[in-house]
């Protein structure tokens, strides 16, 4: 499995849901500020309400419109001895993490990821930490196995 993979398509749903949740949180703060303004007549709260409302709108528009972009330019490759993450089109980035350097892998899933049956994968080396937004549990498991296999080769004294 050396070809580059997109994240599972379901990740788009995850990103959209989290964009909507971010929007709702910001909007709720804005609305709360507006209600407080009406109740207590604190004038400065109007600006807070407008600010948060605008932020919420900008946030949801930007996040939703970037979903296809993020999806199509976010690629990962799992080779025998490395994980490669590629992202961005305007600002491109390619990171390679030798599996022999990996100290730990954390698989986690919040409610949104759980609903889509995905797992967030966080790969930590002795100094850096890298995140894959969502993977099918099988892929996460394969990564974990590979790392366990290679971990044997790593010298105790390397760090």
């Amino acid at each position: 499995m050396t070809e580059s993979n997109h994240l599972p398509t379901k990740i788009k749903t995850v990103w959209r849901i989290s964009a909507v949740i971010n929007f709702l949180i910001l909007a709720a703060i804005g609305i709360g500020a507006y209600i407080a303004f009406k109740l207590f007549d604190w004038h400065w709260l109007v600006y807070g309400a407008i600010g948060f409302g605008a932020l919420a709108l900008i946030d949801i528009v930007v996040e939703l419109s970037l979903v296809p972009y993020r999806y199509s330019f976010w690629l990962y490759t799992l080779t025998d001895d490395a994980v490669e993450l590629r992202s961005g089109f305007i600002f491109r980035r390619l990171v390679s993490i030798p599996i022999a350097r990996v100290q730990d892998v954390t698989l986690s899933a919040g409610p949104i990821l759980q609903s889509q049956k995905l797992q967030e994968v966080r790969i930590a080396t002795a100094s850096t930490s890298h995140k894959i937004d969502g993977l099918q549990p099988e892929v996460g498991e394969q990564l974990r196995k590979q790392i366990m296999a290679l971990a044997v080769e790593v010298n105790d004294h390397d760090v």
Binding site: L94, S96, S127
Partner: protein, 483 residues
Amino acid sequence: MTSDQRHHLNLLALFYFLFHNLFDWLVYIILTVGPLNSFLKRHGINPLVGFGGLIALIVLIIAVRYWCFTFQIGPDMLTINSGIFVKKHTHIPYGRIQTIQRSQWFFLKPFHLEKLQIETAGHDDHSPEAVLPLVNESVRAQIDRNRLTQAAGQQPIGDSNPAETDRLATPSYLINPHDLNVFALTSLGIFPLIGALFALYAKIQDMIPQRIIDSITSKIIHQSLIIIVAVGLLIVIVSIITSYLTIIQKYYKFTLTTQAGQLKTYQGLFQRSSVTIPTNRIQAIRLKQNVIRQLCRLSTIQALAASSAGDDEKSNDLMIIPVVDTSKAFATLAAFINWTPHQKVALDHLAKKSYWYFIRNAMLMTTPLIVICVYFFKFLGGLSLFLLIPAILLGWYAAGNTGWAINNNQLIMQNGHWLTRSQYIIPKKNVQSFGLRQSIWMHRNQLAHVQVSVRHGNHNQLIELRYLPIAKAETLFNWLKNR
């Protein structure tokens, strides 16, 4: 001290505990003065007795804390027990120790007492994993012995005293006074210091009442230029002297020795401090030169390690050789660390036409400043355009000092930042992750940045080569990829 028995710190450590938290204690005392005083008056107790009681309580707390702080030097791990209510036990296997740092103030030397700080690669905390504030020198010797014994899997090396083992150590490096002098004189550290002193001067001027200033200025109004120049000169001179003396006292009689796969440094005039680090724990080597030292052909050699022991609390840079003739740098270093190149490695450099990107970026950095100046000061603000000259020079410097090479199993990366050139020698096995970055415009021009991550202190150090031709960048990337 070979058994697992619990040891206490030296009794003088009571003072350490007292002074370490002196500020807290003073705050407590000040906070309690009012209430305590009224309480004592109401009950007709002599205030002396009351405050005596308070001080006795503080002393008691310190004594209990001292009593609860114990350490055990076991056969395979060091255990530190501390805490009065929350008991804390820290276990450090000898094999996991990255660095042992000891420091000794001159007035403690006759008592053979020192402070020990022991670090592992764990990166939860900013402070060292274990601090023994005041212990006898023999404790370090004991820890060292157990560590070496465990590492070699041999019988204990016997009770040789530390002085003896130090003498046997070979090879060794001792900074020579002339080099130290030049080193101290060529430090760029005076510039921040000058800035700080000028800021202080401005602050003092603010604090002097206007009336006094007025009366003085009226007297010396015709001499103001002379005064300003004199103050300026004074500040510069004080900065130079302070910076010079700081460096001299810090690296006074700097020595580096190697023994049984460990490097050991000693340095300092008033406070002798020493760091011990196993050679195989060094993540990378950094050769550093500021622009003046480049002209004087002097280099500084530092080690990057997964420990925050360093000569500076902020930078974690572990000094190995403070100053050495650039031409002899590698030869000197090779005597101590067996994997570094024995001589200077020829580097690849950027083509002249790539210099433009560095210069452009430096100029872009100054643009907001210039825009602000022009906006507020109109025509006079135009003078800020002169800022472009240092910007161009800095950009040129950064580009001209970018270099790279692959040498056996090591990657050599060199870059220039703020008039300081750093050359990193990184064994491939210590590269934690690496990558390429480019913008879409750089893609069109066939350029890329190469980034390499190395563990340094408790953090990640990202070492970057900017605006490399894509073919070269990919060569480095692929070389790093092949195990």
